[in-house]
């Protein structure tokens, strides 16, 4: 019954491809979610990202003299 080998070979090929595609899309979704969470925590909630930029710019200014 050699056709069983043909069936198994083509099935194995698709199983391997689908498992990899599934693992790739899962990793992409998880990373995208992490990225969005981090971005929103930096920009939205406390305005940390913007205030950091201001702090760096302020730090690069020469010290004020009174």
């Amino acid at each position: 019954m050699p056709n069983i080998y043909l069936f198994l070979a083509f099935s194995a090929l698709w199983v391997i491809f689908f498992l990899y595609a599934w693992s790739l899309s899962r990793r992409q979704a998880r990373l995208r979610k992490e990225l969005e969470e981090l971005k929103s925590s930096l920009e939205g909630g406390r305005g940390v990202w913007k205030s950091d930029v201001r702090t760096v710019e302020e730090n690069s200014q020469p010290p004020r003299t009174t």
């Binding site: 050699p2 198994l8 971005k39």
Partner: protein, 231 residues
């Protein structure tokens, strides 16, 4: 543009794969001695070609990485290593499923099969090295060295059935006098090689984009870690 190109790439890949599978089962003639089971050839050999292409990419990107420390070359090498491992696994799995009905045995340690197994082990060790070395820079350097040294296996594997007597059949493509395929078989085979390379390029680009996103995330985390105190 951001999502259009990957979608078009995916659609082209799917269309090409459908055409390839239609040709395998409905266009290519049945082989006289092995019968239906010979159709495994159309997925087994292209998987091997793609695995070879993937390792060539690992080699080239590793050379570029060691030359100029480009993170993009490192990401591409890593992506090619991972997707190459997938295709090499297809090669390793479909081979014995063809060998059993054709030769009566699942596996033999002849030159071609042994060198293909070594190639698969090289992909495994390359990926394990990248996972287990904690420092990203050190992991990239060590992986690049493995990628370059391991490349020796690719031409040896390709030439094994030309240089030595093996259980594995002699080449039917570029095999010299006496070798060759029926024109319809040859066309089907080339369509399959194209379809597999198209699928490889799609998966490679997706994996490469994933590496880019991971790098962006690390940069954001570093920015968060070094931000000055608000107090």
């Amino acid at each position: 543009m951001g999502k259009t190109l990957p979608t078009v790439h995916l659609l082209v890949t799917l269309a090409w794969m459908i055409l390839a599978f239609w040709m395998i089962f409905l266009y290519a003639p049945q082989e006289l001695t092995m019968g239906e089971v010979q159709r495994i050839f159309y997925i087994h050999a292209p998987s091997g070609w793609v695995a070879g292409t993937a390792y060539c990419m690992v080699f080239l990107c590793s050379v570029v990485y060691l030359w100029n420390r480009s993170p993009l070359a490192d990401d591409l090498a890593h992506a090619a290593g991972e997707v190459g491992f997938v295709f090499c696994s297809c090669l390793i799995v479909t081979g014995p499923l063809w060998a059993k009905p054709a030769w009566g045995i699942w596996w033999t340690w002849d030159a071609r099969l042994t060198l293909t197994f070594v190639l698969w082990m090289l992909f495994v060790s390359y990926l394990m090295l990248r996972s287990y070395v904690s420092s990203p820079g050190r992991a990239a350097t060590l992986a690049a060295v493995v990628g370059i040294i391991g490349f020796v296996d690719v031409p040896l594997d390709y030439m094994a059935i030309r240089w030595w007597r093996t259980q594995h059949p002699q080449p039917v493509i570029a095999g010299g006098e006496g070798s060759g395929l029926d024109p319809r078989m040859f066309l089907t085979f080339m369509v399959c090689v194209g379809a597999f390379h198209c699928l490889f390029s799609y998966l490679l680009l997706q994996r490469f984009r994933l590496a880019g996103a991971r790098r962006e995330l690390s940069a954001l985390r570093r920015a968060l870690a070094i931000r000055p105190s608000e107090d």
